[in-house]
Amino acid sequence: MKHPLRGAFSSMVLATGLVLAVSSCGFGGDKSDDSDPNTLSFLAPVYSDGTKAEWDKIIGDFRKANPDIKVTLQTESWDSINDVVRTKLQSKSTTPDILNIDAYSTYATDGLLYPAADVVDPAVIADIQPGFAKNASINGTQWALPLFASARTLFYNTDLFAAAGVTAPPKTWAELTDDAKKVQALGNGVSGYGLPLGSEEAQGETSIWTFGAGGTWSDGDHITVNTPQNLEGVQAMKAIADAGATEPNPGATNRADVINAFIQGKIGMIEGLPPTIGQIAQKNPALKYTTAPSPTKSGDPSTLGVADHLMAFKKDGRKQDAIKKFLTYFYSAPVYSGFVSSEHFIPITVSGAKALADDPVTKAFATILPSAKFYPSNNPKWGAVQGAIRQQLGTVTQGADPAAVLQKIQQAAS
């Protein structure tokens, strides 16, 4: 009796085990005590080394004022928080009561969230700047509370500019390319403009350029990726890369890489974020740099604004009072402005902006904030589109046709 397939079978069993060990996802998860209406679980991403300590302090102070309410904090890196959220949402008992993340729309449209008005006092709602409130609303209902804002602005190295003979920051794309070429010509491994189109954050850089051509990612209801304006923005990115005025291989460069290179004085210009100011102060305070509005096609200011959000999950609906107390406490001007300034972002409440009027970050970014456009984060399809931009867009600097790439990304919205 021969069993020619026995070996195959046992190998398959072995293969099964290995495949599953690699690909299986978790069942269950950690059980926290979810029955107590006064115990809140709070899941937040790490913005900086101080994020956890900052939240711990806020939660501790809140506890002193409300001894009966307990908030248990869990922090996760941005790299893993989406996976953690996916795992936790599999069961009601592990779903966080309060979540801090960028996108809220899929949870809102699936009916998992409290409307914002149900989880903070009306005064807080009124305090939020209207543009941000609108960005957190779907069909007129506000589902999430913007936490703080970030925007992009041009950071340029004044030493490199002086060495290359550039006197003023560029306003238009033509000037940008010109200046970048001059800086690049200095040699010594210096790049003119940092263009991060790697898979980490390509949607950010791309948006700055497409918005700079008058484009947008949504007409209100539908995702609009392959519009003539967006195409113009992407072609301009391709052009500056093809002109050799950027770092090599923009299609594989992450945002963190260009920021680090800028801090080390290896790049003439980048689109920086509010926390970049803090990073420079910490890692290379000797760096001579200034900020200016992002260059656009016509020279009119326009930039990308990003807001992260706090949202409250409804679950069985018994924790609303406790959530309301905690979030209302958090948005009170002293607590809120303390948190925002320690994280080096831009406040989104009127009272917070007043409290931080002298903060260097608020000063550098407040002027451009009115011209900022946002991601269509109230569209449930945006998540997949954003992923497709990260995945595909960098290929335009590797020879792919911009129109075809945009067409492909548009398909992610269907």
Binding site: R6, G7, G17, S23, N82, R390, G394
Partner: protein, 298 residues
């Protein structure tokens, strides 16, 4: 054929002894595999909520990916290259380690080091070595004047894919070398002596005396390397994860991208099923073609 009933009876009698193992296999292999199949036919939201049955929609979506054929080709190239390079180098290394020379133990231990480090760690070291601006390898090439500016070995899909193959072979060599070394040590020294007496050249002795004896060790090494290389995620993820497009992707990294970037959990589940079928088929063919020693004796 008349033995069949008695075989069934024998199997039944053996059940109390093999039962626990069967339960274990069902629980840790059967259930997850079944669950994977089940998931691939469900309509899942971006964060994993089950919205009901999807029929074949997930598979249709998967096969509609225009990059899929290219990625399947990459997977084939990746697996074959990694396994062949690993086996060739390991066989040579094992032959060397089988010789008696001073310091052999130290050298054998040195070979084990890459195995002791985590794959992500090893890969990250290579990634830094090859970094265009700060990598030691690039700095060296610039300093000796070969390059004008650091080359992005890990920044372009093609070169990065080749580097990844090299790293994958590097991390697979310790295990493979030791498997083959174990096979070599089981070969009686008389065989080689007999070959020598008969006037066979070293290559002839290796080809016609040693290699056939290594058949079962080689078979084990090949199957395990096939599975490992096919399913390898960390090396490609670390080295090529930031590169836009799909030019350096295998089916395993595609699964990862479908989850992380496209937010299509259900399509990724379909991809996992396809992956599972592919590896099962590859191994079935391999085992059928090169039946490990011992099988034909039965």
């Amino acid at each position: 054929m008349s033995r069949t009933p008695s075989r069934a009876a024998a199997a039944l009698r053996a059940l109390p002894w093999i039962g626990p193992v069967l339960v274990l296999i069902a629980a840790i292999v059967g259930f997850p595999a079944g669950y994977m199949l089940w998931t691939s036919t469900r309509d899942l939201s971006a964060y994993g909520t089950d919205r009901g049955p999807a029929g074949w929609a997930n598979f249709r979506k998967l096969f509609a990916l225009e990059e899929l054929p290219r990625i399947l080709l990459h997977t084939l190239a990746w697996t074959v290259a990694v396994v062949v390079i690993t086996l060739a180098l390991s066989a040579a290394l094992a032959q060397f380690l089988n010789k008696d020379f001073p310091g052999r133990t130290a050298v054998r231990l040195a070979i084990l080091v890459p195995w002791a480090a985590s794959v992500v760690m090893t890969t990250t070291v290579f990634d830094y070595l090859l970094d265009p601006d700060v990598g030691l390898a690039n700095r060296f090439l610039v300093d000796i004047g070969v390059l004008h500016r650091g080359f992005g070995f890990t920044k372009e899909a093609g070169p990065a894919f080749l580097v990844a193959i090299g790293v994958a072979a590097f991390v697979s060599i310790p295990f493979t070398t030791y498997t083959i070394l174990a096979g070599l040590q089981a070969i009686p020294a008389e065989m080689d002596e007999a070959g020598r007496v008969d006037g066979a050249s070293p290559w002839q002795r290796y080809r016609y005396l040693t290699l056939p004896q290594l058949r079962s060790a080689m078979a084990v090494a090949t199957v395990i390397n096939l599975i490992n290389a096919f399913n390898s995620l960390p090396i490609l993820q670390v080295l090529t994860g930031s590169i836009a497009g799909f030019d350096a992707d295998t089916t395993t990294t595609l699964t990862f991208k479908l989850i992380r970037q496209n937010q299509q959990l259900a399509t990724a589940a379909a991809m996992s099923v396809l992956n599972f079928v592919l590896i099962a088929v590859i191994i079935a063919i391999y085992v059928k073609v090169i039946r490990p020693a011992g099988e034909e004796a039965r």
